[in-house]
């Protein structure tokens, strides 16, 4: 297990902080799935975003605007 991974008890604590008390029998499954999701999304840290703003949703027609900038 890498240092970035959550243990079942850490997952339970994080969930409690988020306002979701998890019963003990849920801790291991929540930690395993959260760790898997983390391993997938963590690759986004490789990207150098510079000044790139977030796109909260897609808007058709913005491409032309982007291309003109």
């Amino acid at each position: 297990m890498s240092a970035a991974e959550l243990t079942p008890s850490e997952a339970a604590r994080w969930a409690a902080r988020a306002g979701l008390p998890l019963p003990a029998e849920r801790h291991a499954a929540a930690a395993a799935t959260a760790n898997h999701i983390h391993s997938v999304v963590a690759v986004l840290r490789e990207l150098d975003f510079g000044d790139t703003p977030p796109a909260p949703a897609y808007r058709a027609g913005e491409e032309q605007h982007d291309a003109a900038v």
């Binding site: 979701l20 959260a34 999701i37 999304v41 990207l47 977030p54 796109a55 897609y58 808007r59 491409e63």
Partner: protein, 463 residues
């Protein structure tokens, strides 16, 4: 040909010219429902009495010369995330056991106004959070998955228990089951079809669209669904368009992008062969094939998950606390784990979407459409959880099914899945056509031109 076998276009023509009554058509489809539902389980609710009543009214209107349009008297199903006043929207979940929709969703209201007849609400993977729809069975082989999450909608159209249906698509949920059941599925441009009154999985990725037997049918449904509704903040104010493809099969001058990376990697050999044959067919119709490089492929799954996981968890915040035991195990675990994702991951995914959208816009300057497989494999057996590829990698079935369809959700571009044949086990294969934003007409033109070179498709044979 029995009425339930007709395409929407053919049924509409028969009703318009008085050769078929809406009552005959609805009765034929309801008989088919009664016969096949025990094996398929495509419907969460069948509204037979309501449908028969609506059919009689539609027939009276025809007799009085009041034809509302091509959907008049056409039996259809709505994915059970789409509100219809007075009917439960169960989302195929025990969480919604006591639900009753107070009002029509925008799309249900528009279909009702166009004269379409609701046959029932079709099953979804619970709250659309999955790619298999386990309670529903594939229309071609009941031992195999329907695909999802709009599994019931695809199976109903394939089996002739609806003439058309609506589905929703957050990562591929219209196109995946369309491909696995041999029907046509369209994920329109983000914002083209309003989502007011449709249960959300992930607001920034959700779309509503039609599943039909033919490409031509798609245009008839899309014309009714599209159009601005301020109650959906993503809804686009674009002028109404006629998306009906013309009769011409000639694609001379059209540039078809063929991906040199990503879309043909870890794809079943029979799927790849069928899609490449179909692409050659487009070339034979006059199109010019252009190799394209798909940008930022390493970040597709990360961006999809970074957006969908926290948005889905946010939507379910209250019920996950009030009644977590009512969710299926797979969905509950995903929703709980979503509570543990930091905001930084969500923002990185949103910034990645900005970059991806720009790169795709650049790529789509060089081609008119991109042709690719919809899913990398045909329908797997119901109990199969992973796919092992020839390079030794093992992939979860849901990850494989969503892999090729998710880019259109991230970038918002329209994507049409068209059947392009069957594998040696007799299971359908789908080709995906991706276009520029609001380029639905081009997709339908290309899909229709291809379809006209193929023999007419028969209803599915499983049941």
């Amino acid at each position: 040909m029995r009425p339930y076998e007709l395409s929407l276009t053919a049924a509409a023509d028969a009703i318009r010219t008085g050769r078929l009554s809406p009552v005959e058509l609805v009765d034929s489809v309801l008989d088919r429902v009664e016969r096949l539902e025990p094996q398929l389980n495509a419907y969460a609710t069948v509204t037979a009495e309501r449908a028969r009543r609506a059919a009689r009214e539609a027939a009276d209107d025809v007799a009085a010369g009041r034809l509302r349009g091509p959907l008049h008297g056409i039996p259809m199903g709505l994915k059970d995330l789409i509100d219809v006043a007075g009917v439960a929207t169960t989302a195929s979940s025990r969480v919604r056991a006591d639900h009753r929709a107070q009002a029509d969703s925008t799309v249900a209201a528009r279909l009702s106004a166009s004269g379409a007849v609701l046959i029932g609400k079709t099953h979804t993977h619970e709250f659309a959070y999955g790619l298999t729809t386990p309670q529903t069975h594939n229309a071609w082989d009941t031992g195999r998955v329907a695909g999802g999450s709009s599994g019931g909608s695809a199976v109903a159209v394939a089996a002739g228990t609806a003439v058309f249906t609506l589905g929703t698509d957050t990562g591929g949920s219209i196109r995946v089951p369309a491909a696995l059941n041999g029907v046509v599925g369209l994920k329109p441009t983000y914002g083209l079809v309003p989502r007011h009154g449709v249960t959300s999985l992930s607001w920034s990725l959700d779309h509503v669209g039609p599943l039909t037997r033919t490409v031509e049918d798609q245009a008839l449904v899309l014309a009714v669904l599209a159009g601005h509704d301020p109650r959906d903040p993503a809804s686009l104010a674009v002028p109404a368009r006629d998306h009906r493809p013309g009769a011409a099969e000639d694609l001379t001058g059209l540039r078809v992008g063929v991906p040199r990376n990503y879309y043909f990697e870890r794809v079943d050999t029979e799927v790849e062969a069928a899609v490449r044959r179909a692409v050659d067919g487009l070339e034979a119709l006059g199109a010019r094939l252009v190799e394209v490089e798909i940008p930022m492929t390493r970040y597709i799954q990360a961006t999809q998950w970074g957006l969908m996981v926290p948005e889905a968890t946010a939507y379910h915040e209250r019920t996950l606390r009030a009644a977590p035991e009512l969710y299926q195990a797979d969905v509950r675990t995903l929703l709980e784990a979503g509570e543990l994702m930091p905001a930084g991951d969500y923002l990185r995914a949103q910034r990645s979407r900005t970059l991806m959208r720009r790169e795709w816009a650049r790529m789509l300057e060089d081609v008119d459409v991109i042709a690719a497989p919809t899913v990398p494999a045909t329908a797997v057996k119901a109990d199969q959880e992973t796919i092992t590829w020839p390079d030794g990698t093992v992939e979860a079935v849901s990850d494989a099914y969503v892999r090729l369809s998710a880019p259109a959700n991230l970038t918002g571009v329209p994507s049409l899945s068209v059947p392009v044949g069957h594998d040696t086990a007799g299971l359908p294969i789908g080709m995906q056509l991706l276009g520029r934003p609001l380029g639905e007409s081009v997709l339908l033109r290309v899909g229709h031109a291809y379809e006209r070179t193929r023999p007419a498709r028969e209803p599915a044979t499983a049941a």
